[in-house]
Symmetry: C2
Subunit: 356 residues, 2 copies
């Protein structure tokens, strides 16, 4: 295989998809996986076949790509600004699929309603559960919902993203924040006379902790993305084991300039550049547990290891688990699919680069 190559292990992928589907079903929570992670029509079809309620995406362009691939129920979980360049595309989507769109302001709602011009789509109000990104304070959800109602847009409920779950020890409090924000946001909608049924949350680190409505819990729907593959971040956070990571970058050792250092051809243009302060390096090398990717350039990964520990030689191929799979999938046009160590297929990355 010519390196650097992105390789997906189909058996591990399917096990990850099934485990999350089963976990959500057991709790009585709908699963609406986030397609921005994989951007793959093939994987979306597998998620839907396992009972997913629909797909989540981040952009109008991703929605178009998945709609073209046959996905019929899509939530753009993003405060889309529905300007003139997007209005025709949104109307077209609304006419073809069950479309839901995120909103977090009265101004955004009015722009969206004007863009849709009566085409059928529902909105969910984004509430901030502590990430301090987009989304209104939960108590303000009702005001945004009222604006939507006044503009003729049905309000399906509230959503939030507990992305502050991405730190050691953070998943439990982030899941608690998610529950509190969805409960408060939902109450704000009810106070406004618009009791939408959906309370949508979920990130991969917190998704298994979310309490569903089976016990009258706060979460009716989950939108994790990374769980399909897992990655080095999830391993470091303790969310999964190394053998539950379904995506790897195969790299070649191109240089061993000195003892204790070797260079891989898997640079930032394939591994991505996510490196939170709590990550030990720019990815993990399962075959060389003491080795650390200490430096990352566009086409070089610099790996340091202890003298005397096993190390690969120039020309060897090495498996790297990237820190964050979502950025990796957005860098390549296709991925190799392996089963029992053999390449059995190549999947296109259907929605790569669909940012608008």
């Amino acid at each position: 295989m010519v390196t650097p190559a992105v390789v997906v292990d189909r058996g591990t992928l399917d096990a990850n998809l099934r485990a999350m589907a089963d976990s959500a079903a057991h709790r009585g929570i709908a699963l609406r996986p986030h397609g921005k992670t994989h951007k793959s029509a093939e994987i979306a079809r597998r998620q839907l076949a396992l009972g997913a309620a629909g797909l989540t995406v981040a952009t109008v362009g991703e929605a178009e790509a998945f709609a073209a691939a046959g996905v019929s129920d899509i939530f753009i979980a993003y405060p889309v600004w529905a300007d003139a360049a997007r209005s025709g595309r949104l109307r077209d989507l609304a006419g073809r699929i069950q479309l839901s769109v995120g909103v977090d302001s009265a101004a955004g709602v009015r722009e969206l309603a004007a863009a849709l011009a009566g085409a059928p789509a529902q909105v969910l109000v984004e509430v901030d559960c502590g990430l301090r990104r987009s989304g209104v304070a939960p108590a303000d959800a009702g005001a945004v919902a009222a604006a939507a109602d006044a503009a003729g847009l049905p309000v399906a409920g509230v959503f939030t993203f507990p992305g502050h779950s991405y730190a050691p020890g953070a998943p439990v409090p982030a899941a608690e924040d998610e529950a509190a924000a969805l409960t408060a946001g939902s109450a704000s909608l009810a106070d406004a006379g618009l009791p939408g049924p959906v309370r949508s949350g979920g990130s991969t680190p917190s998704a298994s902790l979310s309490l569903g409505p089976a016990s009258d819990g706060p979460v009716t729907e989950l939108r994790p993305g990374v769980y399909a593959f897992n990655d080095a971040q999830q391993v470091v956070l303790g969310v999964c084991a190394v053998d539950q990571v379904a995506l790897a970058v195969l790299a070649t050792v191109v240089s061993v300039p000195t003892a204790g250092r070797f260079i891989l051809d898997s640079g930032a243009k394939v591994l991505g550049q996510d490196r939170p302060a709590w990550a030990p390096g720019h990815g993990l090398l399962p075959g060389y547990p003491d080795a650390v990717i200490t430096g990352l350039w566009e086409h070089h990964a610099v790996v340091r290891h202890q003298a005397g520990q096993p190390a690969p030689r120039a020309g060897d191929q090495v498996v790297v688990l990237p820190n964050h799979v979502c950025t990796v999938m957005n860098l390549v046009d296709s991925v190799y699919v392996a089963e029992d160590g053999q390449v059995v297929d190549v999947w296109p990355v259907t929605a790569r680069g669909r940012n608008t």
Copy 2:
């Protein structure tokens, strides 16, 4: 224009290309721009029309893309591991263009010679001038050259990358390191009886400081890449002014959740994720000088600004200068080209994703 969009200002681009071409010519140094920055056949043609000696690339795939676009002299400035998956491609390139390839080990040289199987290509030995990435110590260049000579590969000279120029105050000492390493590496080649004429260096922060052979200087060739566009990093380093940055990301304000914070749709999937410790944020907003991009997710840039300072409103479009243009160009399939504020063309990113 639908956002996020990458926009190249043609006038600024052409001025940047001409300034570096003139500067190198004035010093008697050949210019071989690095195509990994722009990955654009259109821009490569402009660089060659301004007198560039040829093009530099990082991968065999980039070389193939530029060769297909008509570039006839290409240096792969990378210790290519010429395994079976690359050998036919290298032979094909060697038969079509003037091909030069980087090497930094006797093992790599032997692999390359076997792959080429007599097809004509020359090598340059990579020496490390302080970056501690790939490359041998300058004194060891002769041994690698001797291996190349024994394997039947012509040795054109030595090359280095002073990438440790990327820090405040670092360009001058990095250029001094570059000069010393190229001089020592060249002497090592001469000692081995293989006095290749090329001493190739250059990064954008250090390129204007490199001393050429007009005064018997240490550098005969420069390989800067970023200079074509410049970026926020170059502004912060003092290498260029804001109005010399030829590439911007146009973004829309999608949310203003609270006073002092607004959210742009230019996330990591278009801005890239380079953020050295010395950069003030994930890019610069020339229209709002006090604003800082403090957080970057895949589709959200979180911007903080001082209360009372001018700030855009929801729906406004905002210009962002990314930290590092090389990763930006690798994220999009095409760029808009503007002249006097009007879009006049769209250029494909010819070699996007050509990592292998």
